[in-house]
């Protein structure tokens, strides 16, 4: 049997154990629950399985075959070959969590470097070694706010994705945290400051703001939010698109206490939304309340620089039910991809990338909103995603699909008030040609 070297040695090894039959090793399983076989097809040759997978692959349309302009937090970005090369090093990808630091120095140093770059990007003092994704990071941040402030109300904008709301509810239900929503300004798409002022009070453990928000719009009144939260001794949690931080103000500059985000865009493929990366960074004073792994620099017994997992008394394998989180396995390889990606890009490259994404966003929005019948919904300055009201969003979607293109995200299903609205997303991967084609196809619909 493939991958099982001792299959042919079964008899002789059993003999050494003074056993006759392999079933003797399973004599401790009660007869009533023993099974003879699994009702699954028999083993297959690798070549045969590869053929099968090729057939399945043909039933998918990748970004290369079908350009997509979907927004909603996931967008394709260019991934340099360097990243694929490094994460394909099997010393990295076939390693376990670095429990034995002396033989895991490579991964540990890479995580330390990741933590350093995330701290730089976000303007925070410390970062952990990743959480599952940007959405669960909100849940963890809410729980952390409660532990720090001993308060049980968490405030979010009305316009975060429904998925995030659902995850947040699940993460906070057990702790008895109450979630309150703040409306958005229907004109600008930004947070409604008056409503925010009414909602935040002394009971507020924390407020989560997304910047740019779910509609792609920048929250530019952030300077006013921090004092309001400070006055109420509430934490300020900011969710970011890390690529925007190439040029945009880091949340640390406007008073954030915790910064989270989906890091998939930094060197990880779309992967149907999987292999995500939860960014989680915060101020130093909250270090002991962080969920998940943290890597520290220290020395070995000869005084050489060395790295290891640290502050482990926060974690489940030591603290059990009193741990700061249940997280064990995180998103190590995605984090390594991000560390490699950021070092390939460099600070300057990230700034240029951010600029390109911003410009592309403006360009495409102008082109689409110039088409009769299509209009920009929110006036706020946006990054690389924006909301457009179409004459008939469903018809637009179908027409584009027939022409081999995926349009923006249909918002009406989850946000009934946003009738016929589409959330478009564009990045450095969308060239002039594909944008022009999109615009001409949109013109055909109206």
């Amino acid at each position: 049997m493939q991958f099982i070297p001792n299959s042919p040695l079964k008899k002789s090894m059993l003999h050494e154990l003074k056993l006759h039959d392999i079933n003797d090793l399973f004599s401790d399983i009660p007869k009533e629950i023993k099974i003879e076989n699994l009702k699954l097809p028999p083993s297959r040759h690798q070549q045969d399985v590869e053929d099968h997978m090729r057939q399945l692959a043909r039933q998918n349309k990748s970004f290369c075959e079908m350009p997509s302009f979907l927004g909603g937090g996931y967008k394709p970005h260019y991934i340099p070959a360097v990243v694929k090369s490094i994460i394909s090093r099997s010393e990295f990808y076939t390693a376990y969590t670095p429990y034995q630091p002396e033989t895991s120095q490579g991964f540990l140093q890479a995580i330390f470097e990741y933590q350093s770059m995330i701290a730089e990007l976000t303007g925070m003092d410390v970062s952990n070694a990743s959480l599952y994704d940007g959405a669960t990071a909100i849940g963890e941040a809410a729980l952390m706010s409660m532990r720090i402030t001993k308060k049980k109300t968490f405030v979010i904008p009305e316009n975060i994705s429904w998925e995030k709301k659902s995850i947040l509810t699940n993460y906070t239900k057990g702790a008895g945290i109450k979630i309150k929503e703040v409306a958005y300004d229907k004109e600008t798409g930004k947070i409604d400051l008056d409503d925010l002022k009414k909602t935040i009070n002394a009971e507020t453990a924390g407020f989560y703001l997304e910047n740019p928000n779910f509609f792609g719009v920048f929250e530019d009144a952030v300077e006013e939010i921090h004092p309001l939260l400070q006055k109420n001794q509430s934490l300020f949690i900011v969710g970011v698109d890390p690529i925007s931080l190439g040029i945009c103000k880091s949340p640390g500059e406007y008073g954030a206490d915790i910064v989270i985000g989906e890091g998939k865009s930094l060197g990880n493929p779309l992967d149907f939304g999987g292999s995500t990366l939860g960014i989680f960074a915060c101020k130093n004073e909250f270090l002991r309340q962080i969920p998940g792994r943290i890597i520290g620099m220290t020395k070995d017994h000869q005084g050489k620089r060395a790295f290891c997992m640290t502050m482990q008394t926060r974690e489940q394998h030591i603290r059990r039910e009193k741990a700061t989180s249940n997280i064990c396995t995180n998103e190590g390889l995605c984090m390594l991809a991000t560390a490699t990606y950021l070092s390939w890009l460099g600070g300057k490259g990230l700034q240029e990338l951010c600029e390109t994404n911003f410009e592309r966003g403006q360009q495409l929005r102008k082109q689409i909103s110039a088409i009769p019948g299509f209009s920009r919904v929110f006036s706020g300055i946006h990054f690389n995603e924006f909301v457009i009201r179409c004459p008939d969003a469903a018809a637009v979607h179908t027409h584009l699909l027939r022409q081999g293109m995926q349009g923006g995200l249909l918002l009406e299903k989850w946000y009934p008030k946003l009738t016929n609205c589409m959330l478009f997303g564009v990045t450095e991967l969308h060239n002039e040609e594909s944008m022009t084609r999109l615009v001409s196809l949109l013109k055909e619909v109206c």
Binding site: M1, F3, L17, I22, L25, F26, I33, I35, N37, R44, Q59, N60, F63, C64, L70, G73, P80, K84, R89, E91, Y96, Q100, E102, S104, G106, F112, E113, D125, D133, A135, T136, Y171, G174, D220, I247, K249, P269, F272, G274, S275, G296, M297, T298, K299, D300, M311, H317, R320, E321, I327, C328, T329, N330, E331, L336, S343, G347, K348, G349, Q351
Partner: protein
């Protein structure tokens, strides 16, 4: 003798020869939105980047470097073909929100994998959404909550688990809002039925169990355990970390478990990635199907689709649909192995563990607490080594590194003193097992000073972990604080 690569590799920011000037953006982004602080991410050449990370990789140990018998972690070989296919652009460059007619291949994989996992575990429904085992546990406990809320039984706020359970079990239960009650194991290393009877009550929501447990012992009283738990009106939860022991031999569903989580990155051979991405699918019995996270994957005629119309569902637990590349690799692995191969996997995993156990215990240098017959893993104690030579489990682990071998899990489960928890998996040859055994025996007879000072042949020597806690240096901004750590 083994010797690890030793690169005194500088940090990325130390590789940058000249700091570039602050980038002057030509962007139309209003000044009020622009960052004013510098962005200290080094600007390097591609050669510098590739050499840096390649050198780091050479100071890291993976399953392809050698045996990696971490107990309860199931570090088996990860077939290359799975990795290769998962990177095909038809799978890797799919947007989670693109039209379902354009993702039929992946939807079919998800649908079929759920069905395969149902057959392997004996459950009725599966979700692939949880990102890892711990998140699977958390999902299972949220389903437990939803089940009792639906039944309007609001008094069940306790989760019971044995003292041998994984740390994530109590942590997940606490996160889901439950009080955790830990029960001590019997002298046999198994669940104490009398104790369980006493503690089960109308307040019990769930009993969480790993079977075989973390000592590698199969809970032979499982049918009675299930009866007692159900009689109390509670649910029985299966932590699937040890599923590699029983595939094709017995199924949690038949044992009476109501909820199961699996670790695709353990049993189903997807690489651990140095700590993820993992995948922790959750399976449930029919009565709990309505509470599973949305979306569910359905087959309608010959098409596959997502279905969100489950009003009793707990909703979402992770963004999108789970770690898709991991899901894909597990699917390929199961196709390769087939039902017969999975059964062979468990048989040989158990054979290998019992073979190692016998050789080590026969030597009398290490002791085996509790019952003889083990499943895919076993726990031996270094207590005698400690009393006679002052050598701890920790020292044995570090000395193994000098021989180019990855140590077992140490000091777990907590009920065994000086524990070495060994899980060889089915991937290792008899020759490798023999070498590992011989090395463990050799270490037990070596000069204690040599062992207590190990490792000697790794990239760094024994690490000052206490210094790391006392004086946290967590980013490159703070490395001058390293001078404050005195060895």
């Amino acid at each position: 003798m083994y010797h690890s690569a030793v690169w005194r590799e500088p940090l990325l920011n130390e590789l940058e020869e000249t700091k570039k000037e602050k980038y002057a953006t030509k962007s139309m982004l209003p000044d009020s939105l622009q960052r004013k602080t510098s962005l200290d991410i080094p600007n390097l050449d591609e050669t510098q980047v590739i050499r840096h990370f390649l050198r780091l990789s050479q100071m890291n140990y993976g399953i392809e470097s050698g045996i990696y018998p971490l107990g309860s972690c199931t570090m088996k070989y990860n077939p290359k073909i799975c990795e290769d296919i998962s990177r095909w652009e038809q799978f890797a460059l799919l947007h989670p929100y693109q039209d379902e007619t354009t993702t039929q291949g992946t939807l079919r994989i998800m649908y079929e994998l759920e069905k395969m996992l149902c057959e392997i575990t004996g459950m009725d429904h599966f979700t692939l959404q949880p990102a890892a085992g711990a998140q699977g546990e958390f999902t299972g406990l949220l389903i437990t909550r939803a089940y009792y809320e639906h039944k309007k039984d609001f008094n069940r706020d306790e989760v019971i688990l044995p003292d041998t359970s994984h740390g994530t079990n109590p942590a997940s239960a606490a996160m889901a809002g439950y009080k955790v009650i830990e029960i001590p194991s019997t002298k046999e290393g198994t669940v104490d039925l009398e104790m369980l009877k006493k503690i089960l009550s109308k307040k019990t929501a769930c009993f969480m169990l790993t079977n075989p447990n973390t000592l590698g012992i199969f809970e032979s009283e499982i049918i009675e355990i299930a009866r007692l738990v159900h009689e109390a009106g509670a649910l029985l939860y299966y932590d699937g970390a040890n599923m590699n022991a029983i595939m094709g031999k017995a199924r949690p569903g038949d044992m009476g478990f109501d909820i199961v989580h699996l670790n695709l990155h353990k049993t189903f051979s997807t690489p651990h990635g140095g700590g993820g991405p993992g995948s922790g699918p959750v399976g449930v019995k029919e009565k709990l199907g309505r509470f599973l996270p949305v979306p569910r994957v359905l087959k309608k005629q010959n098409n596959f689709c997502f279905d969100y119309e489950y009003p009793d569902s707990i909703g979402k637990i992770k963004a999108t649909y789970g770690n898709s590349s991991v899901i894909l690799k597990a699917y390929i692995y199961i196709l390769l192995m087939g039902g017969n191969g999975l059964k062979e996997t468990s048989e040989i995993a158990v054979l290998n563990a019992n073979y190692m156990k016998k050789k080590l215990v026969d030597s009398t240098l290490y002791q085996l607490p509790y019952r003889q017959l083990r499943k895919h893993e076993f726990v031996i104690s270094c207590e005698q080594l400690l009393s006679t030579k002052g050598i701890r489990a920790f020292d044995v682990a570090k000395r193994l590194l000098d021989y180019g071998l990855h140590p077992p899990t140490v000091y777990f489960p907590h009920i065994v003193k000086e524990a070495l928890m060994i899980e060889p998996t089915e991937s290792e040859s008899k020759k490798t097992l023999d070498e590992y055994i011989d090395t463990l025996l050799k270490i037990a007879q070596e000069d204690p000073l040599l062992v207590k000072d190990a490792p000697h042949n790794t990239a760094v020597q024994r690490i000052d972990e206490i210094g790391a806690v006392k004086n946290p240096i967590l980013t490159w901004k703070n490395i001058e604080k390293l001078n404050e750590i005195h060895i």
